[in-house]
Structures are given as structure tokens and as C-alpha cells.
């Protein structure tokens, strides 16, 4: 079954919708840079993983989702969280372990969630969130609410058995599930192709799930590819699988600075030739939908918003000690 439609749905997107996508990608990148600054200044506890370079996948997929749709995310999940609708202050708050964080400081970067916007949570177990989003799809089917469940995961999860178990269940039960693989070409410090056998989309095709490889550096391509899949899922047409070709500009985590497993030339090529923000920016300018100065102003606004949110989160208090054994069990 083909996943493409005759004329790309993004052609019908108004200028404002495209500009919103650009703004979201700029916000995610500015957020991630600010997180990096917190980390460099030793103002942030723990470990974190930045998604700079991968913004288009989160934004392009989530553009189709509403609050009744659920996503699960990964350890590299700040972008998904924001794209699904979360606010910057409680996001920063959570990353800093503050009481105003989405999870009251109990989850942190690797477990951030926002129930209000349908984000079930980032996950620090590779592949751990995949069956959760598939289970959300089961709920949607049983409760007949036309919701979909989207699991974001990296190429590392392609070799976890739980992906295959979840795909099989989604296929046999015809669930409104979307398996969204961000192939950034490295599982931690190891090139994906060294450790991954077979054509990646075959993992979905083997279960009869419509599967496609998509340029994950082009937000409109991501938007177009997932449009039909989301509609089909809502209509009872079952799951889809995407492998989004993308790139992690920085290291696996903050301590991965020299990245000896890949070349500077490779990094430079992705950054200079395929950057998703530059790409959409050039499209908007080329189509005469915005002016350079307008886009520069958007960039400045975004950076100011992010800086202000970071300040508010930094000023927020840490959780009270009484919080430590609250929420172990629900009443």
C-alpha cells in the first residue's frame, strides 16, 4: 500500500501554518541550545540528550495531532514534548528538577511528560515507549474516540524485540498506531549500519504495515508522509511505520564531545546541505511568503521567549522534601 497521496497535502498549507512550523523548529533548537548552556554551566543535574538537527520530525508529525492523540518519546525527547504542545517554563522546570516542572521534578529530561497535551512520556529504556503508544492506540480503538497513538523512537530501537512485538500486535488488531523511527544514523556512539541488518522499512513491511522512508530533514516531507497515515489510522485503517532519515548534530549526550566515530566532513555536510530550519526558511523566502526581516524577527522573539522561560524555571523552587514519597501509588 502506498503512503503518498497525489498532490502533497503541504501544498494546501497556508503561509501561517508553515511559519508556525518554522517557529516551532526554531523554538526547539533554541531550547536545546539553552539546555546545553545550563549543562555547560553545571546548572542542570544529571544527563541530557539534545535533538538539534532532528526538529523536523517532531514538528512535521505532531502537526497532525490533537490533544486526544497520544505520543511517547525517547531520551532525546524535548522536541517531541514541545511539538505536542507543552510549554517552555514547565519543560525547563522539569529539566532542572524544579517543583514547577511537568512531573514536579520527579522525571527530568528523560521522563518528561505532559498529560494535558497527550504526551505520555519520554522514556529512558530504548523502545520502552513503543508498546505504550500502541496501547494508547488500543484504547482509542476500544473507546472509539478516533485518537491515534504515535511512538517516536530512534534507530537503536529497531533492534529491540519490543518493536517487533508491538508492530505485530498493532497489525493483527488493526490499531491506529504510528511507528515513527528517527534514524539519526547513530545508536549512542555506534553507526546504525554496523549493527542493523536488513532494509529498515522491511521491519514494518514484514507485518504488512505500510512503511516508508522519508526525508526527516524536510518538515514538509514529514508532514506530507504522515498526513495520510494519520487519517487512515483515524478511519480504522490500521498502523503505519516511518523511518525518518535525520541527523543528530551533536553527540549522544553532553559528554560525547569529540565524536571519534564519525567525521567532521560528514557533520558539516548535514549541517550545511540539509538543515531543516534553513530549508523551510528558504522555501518560505523563495515562495515570497515572508521577508528576511520578518523571519529574523521571529528568530529573535523565539530566543527571547526561551531565555525568559529559562529564567523563570531557574528562579522556581526545588520540590519540598515531602514530595519524595508522594505519587508512588495512586489513590
Amino acid at each position: 500500500m502506498a503512503l503518498t497521496t497525489e498532490s502533497p497535502p503541504s501544498q494546501g498549507l497556508a503561509a501561517a501554518a508553515r511559519l508556525k512550523m518554522l517557529r516551532q523548529m526554531l523554538t526547539i533548537r533554541a531550547f536545546e541550545h539553552r539546555v546545553g548552556e545550563f549543562y555547560e554551566r553545571a546548572e542542570m543535574p544529571g544527563i541530557t540528550h539534545l535533538s538539534i538537527g532532528q526538529e523536523a520530525v517532531a514538528v512535521g508529525v505532531c502537526a497532525h495531532l490533537n490533544r486526544n492523540d497520544y505520543i511517547t518519546s525517547t531520551h532525546r525527547g524535548h522536541g517531541h514534548c514541545y511539538a505536542k504542545g507543552a510549554g517552555l517554563v514547565p519543560m525547563f522546570g522539569e529539566l532542572l528538577g524544579k517543583a514547577n516542572g511537568y512531573c514536579r521534578g520527579k522525571g527530568g529530561s528523560m521522563h518528561i511528560a505532559d498529560r494535558e497535551t497527550g504526551h505520555l512520556g519520554a522514556n529512558a529504556i530504548i523502545g520502552g515507549g513503543i508498546p505504550l503508544a500502541t496501547g494508547a492506540a488500543l484504547s482509542a480503538k476500544v473507546l472509539r474516540n478516533r485518537g491515534v497513538g504515535v511512538s517516536f523512537f530512534g534507530d537503536g530501537a529497531l533492534n529491540e524485540g519490543i518493536l517487533l512485538e508491538s508492530m505485530n500486535l498493532a497489525a493483527i488488531w488493526n490499531l491506529p498506531a504510528i511507528f515513527a523511527c528517527e534514524n539519526n544514523h547513530y545508536g549512542e556512539y555506534t553507526p546504525t549500519d554496523q549493527v542493523t541488518a536488513g532494509r529498515l522499512t522491511l521491519r514494518g513491511e514484514a507485518f504488512g504495515i505500510p512503511s516508508a522512508e522519508v526525508d526527516g530533514m524536510d518538515v514538509l516531507a514529514v508532514y506530507d508522509a504522515t498526513d495520510a497515515a494519520v487519517q487512515r489510522a483515524r478511519g480504522g485503517g490500521g498502523p503505519s511505520f516511518f523511518v525518518f532519515d535525520t541527523y543528530r548534530y551533536l553527540g549522544h549526550g553532553m559528554s560525547d564531545r569529540t565524536r571519534p566515530y564519525r567525521s567532521q566532513e560528514e557533520e558539516d555536510e548535514w549541517r550545511s546541505q540539509r538543515d531543516p530550519i534553513e530549508r523551510l526558511r528558504n522555501q518560505l523566502l523563495g515562495a515570497g511568503l515572508c521577508s528576511e526581516s520578518e523571519l529574523d524577527a521571529v528568530g529573535q522573539e523565539v530566543r527571547a521567549e526561551v531565555e525568559e522561560a529559562a529564567r523563570l524555571a531557574q528562579e522556581a523552587p526545588f520540590p519540598d522534601p515531602e514530595e519524595v514519597d508522594r505519587h508512588v501509588f495512586a489513590d
Binding site: 516542572g101 520527579k106 529504556i125 488500543l138 485518537g147 519490543i162 512485538e165 495512586a330
Partner: protein, 333 residues
């Protein structure tokens, strides 16, 4: 408990079946899935008739994918359903451990109380059916060790029904262990017109006595009651108390009993080393050291993989004779 005259005799599996049926009638969000649970009615007959009553959308056969079905259950529980996921043998829980231990148990806490996981992992435990090392373990201590999980292991059909109803209504993930050696044993269960639930964290005194407390779980309760009868012939009056849930644990009732008797033997079918018995013995020791007339003792399964050959298997399971022997030793001094 209602009087036996009102009660029918049901097996464990019939009692649990009735609990699930009543709760599925009561709440449309309760769904059930697992290997062979629908058309076949489950290998323990626990889910017999449920497919006919509730249809294929609420009672689903699954592939043999323990991690996957556990994970879909967790996700469904996070988003509005109340799944019962059957993992046929407790020995298969390790296949689903990430989803149980890292996802289900931690979601409510990690989300700061945003998202609860109301679901039941229905499984079986225990040796004695000649099923060998990978179908006979009692892993309750593994799961009772993890904050965020509740663990129920009933010792009678009556308790099984009441605890299962509570498990389904609980907002948290519950590991519900049915002792397979007892699963077709009958016991009195009140008529369905008399609805009851049994709260978690409430121990039940199965026999009163003054000389010695036998704290026992699952089928070990029957062993303890049999031992108590034998000991009574020697003039030793044992109190048999069943915690019924290991998490939460009714510490107060257990301690009250030992305060009264000043002697305590804990019998749990998990491996003795680092087992539930060790935890309960430590609880008693920490709280009642100066009230005790004898050291706290524990009896668990032998620390060996459960062997197949019946003559060997029987040696590994705690049994009445051992309880009687230890009890006599405790009362000797």
C-alpha cells in the same frame, strides 16, 4: 466471611472468573487479554465464558509476546482502559519485566502523579505440578521489591474473588498470583448476590492460637493450617495469619499476632534467600526483638531451580512436616 450455608463451593479459577465477570459487567473500561484467554477460556479455565459474554473487543487472544502484551496493557491503562493482562506462568513475567518494572511501576511517580496505570497482571505461581524449572517459580518477592507495584497472592477461593475485584478497581498495577497447585481446589464463596471486595493490605487470621504465629502466603497457608492441626494434638496452639498482599503489607496485624505469641515462623513459597520470608522476618525482628521468646524463623523454597522428578521436586517445596519440626524446635527452649 458469610456463613458456609450461604456459600457455594467454587474453585480458585471459578472464583477469579466470577470476579472478572462481575467487574467487566460493572465497568466497560475493563478489558482482558492474554495467550489463549478468549476462545480457549485460559489454560487455567479462569477466563472461561468471558469471550461469549463480553465479545471479541474486550476479551482478546494474543500472540505469545509477553513483553508486547504487557506493554500494550500499560499504554491502554494510561489512556482510559483498565486492562487485565494474563501472563500464563509467573515464570514468564521476566519476559515482560521492563514493561512491569520500568514502565507500569514508575509511571505514576515519574509523571508527578499525572498518569496512573490501573491494570492487573494475572499470572500463576508455585511448584508441585511437575512442571520443572521454568514453569514452577514463585517470584512474588521480585515484584514486591519494586515501589509502585502491588502484589496479591490469595490462599482461598473466597479471598481470590475479593482480592481480584479490588485489583481491578485499584488505580495501580497489581501482580495477581494464583497458586497453580490449588487452582482447582474448592472453597466456600458467597452467592453472587452478596457482593464483596477484600481491601489490599489487610491480613486475615486463618486460625487463632497463643503459642506461635505462622505467617503464610498462598498454598503455604494450607500447609500451615495442616501443621497447626498436627501441632494442636501436641498441645501447641498456632495462629495462622495470611497477609494476602505482600505489597501493601499489613505490618500491624502481623506484628499484633507475634506480640501475642512471641514466636514467629514465616512460610512463603518463593526462594528462601532474599525472599518475602526474609522481609517479614526482618520486620518482626526490628519491631519485636525484645518481645520474642525465640529467633524468628523462615521457610521458603529450596534455593535450587525447581527439579522435574517428583521425588526431587517435593523436597524443594515447603511442607507441613518442616513447619511442624521448626515449630517444635521453637517451643523447645
Amino acid at each position: 466471611m458469610s456463613s458456609p450455608t450461604e456459600a457455594r463451593q467454587l474453585t480458585f479459577s471459578q472464583a477469579v472468573n466470577e470476579a472478572i465477570r462481575e467487574e467487566m459487567d460493572r465497568d466497560h473500561r475493563v478489558i482482558l487479554f492474554g495467550e489463549d484467554v478468549a476462545a480457549a477460556g485460559g489454560v487455567w479455565k479462569v477466563t472461561e465464558g468471558l469471550l461469549d459474554r463480553f465479545g471479541a473487543e474486550r476479551v482478546l487472544d494474543t500472540p505469545i509476546s509477553e513483553a508486547g502484551i504487557a506493554g500494550l496493557g500499560v499504554g491502554a491503562a494510561m489512556t482510559g482502559l483498565r486492562p487485565i493482562v494474563e501472563i500464563m506462568f509467573g515464570d514468564f513475567l521476566p519476559l515482560a519485566s521492563d514493561q512491569i518494572v520500568n514502565q507500569a511501576a514508575k509511571t505514576y511517580y515519574m509523571s508527578g502523579g499525572m498518569t496512573s496505570v490501573p491494570m492487573v497482571f494475572l499470572t500463576s505461581m508455585g511448584a508441585g505440578r511437575r512442571l520443572a524449572a521454568q514453569h514452577s517459580q514463585s517470584l512474588q518477592a521480585w515484584f514486591a521489591h519494586i515501589p509502585g507495584l502491588k502484589v496479591a497472592l490469595p490462599s482461598s477461593p473466597h479471598d481470590a474473588k475479593g482480592l481480584m475485584k479490588t485489583a481491578i478497581r485499584d488505580e495501580n498495577p497489581v501482580i495477581f498470583l494464583q497458586d497453580k497447585v490449588d487452582i482447582y481446589q474448592k472453597g466456600p464463596v458467597p452467592d453472587p448476590s452478596h457482593e464483596y471486595t477484600i481491601p489490599f493490605g489487610r491480613a486475615d487470621v486463618k486460625r487463632e492460637g497463643e503459642d506461635l504465629t505462622l505467617i503464610a502466603t498462598s498454598s503455604m497457608v494450607r500447609q500451615a493450617l495442616d501443621a497447626a492441626s498436627e501441632l494442636a494434638e501436641e498441645g501447641i496452639e498456632s495462629e495462622v495469619i495470611d497477609p494476602r498482599t505482600l505489597a501493601p503489607l499489613d505490618e500491624e496485624s502481623l506484628l499484633d499476632s507475634v506480640r501475642k505469641t512471641a514466636r514467629c515462623l514465616v512460610i512463603d513459597e518463593g526462594y528462601q534467600r532474599y525472599g518475602a520470608g526474609a522481609e517479614i522476618a526482618a520486620l518482626v525482628g526490628e519491631n519485636l526483638f525484645y518481645d520474642l521468646e525465640a529467633p524468628v524463623r523462615r521457610l521458603g523454597a529450596m534455593d535450587v531451580p525447581v527439579p522435574f522428578s517428583p521425588t526431587l521436586e517435593d523436597l524443594t517445596i515447603p511442607r507441613k512436616e518442616q513447619i511442624v519440626e521448626i515449630a517444635r524446635q521453637m517451643l523447645e527452649d
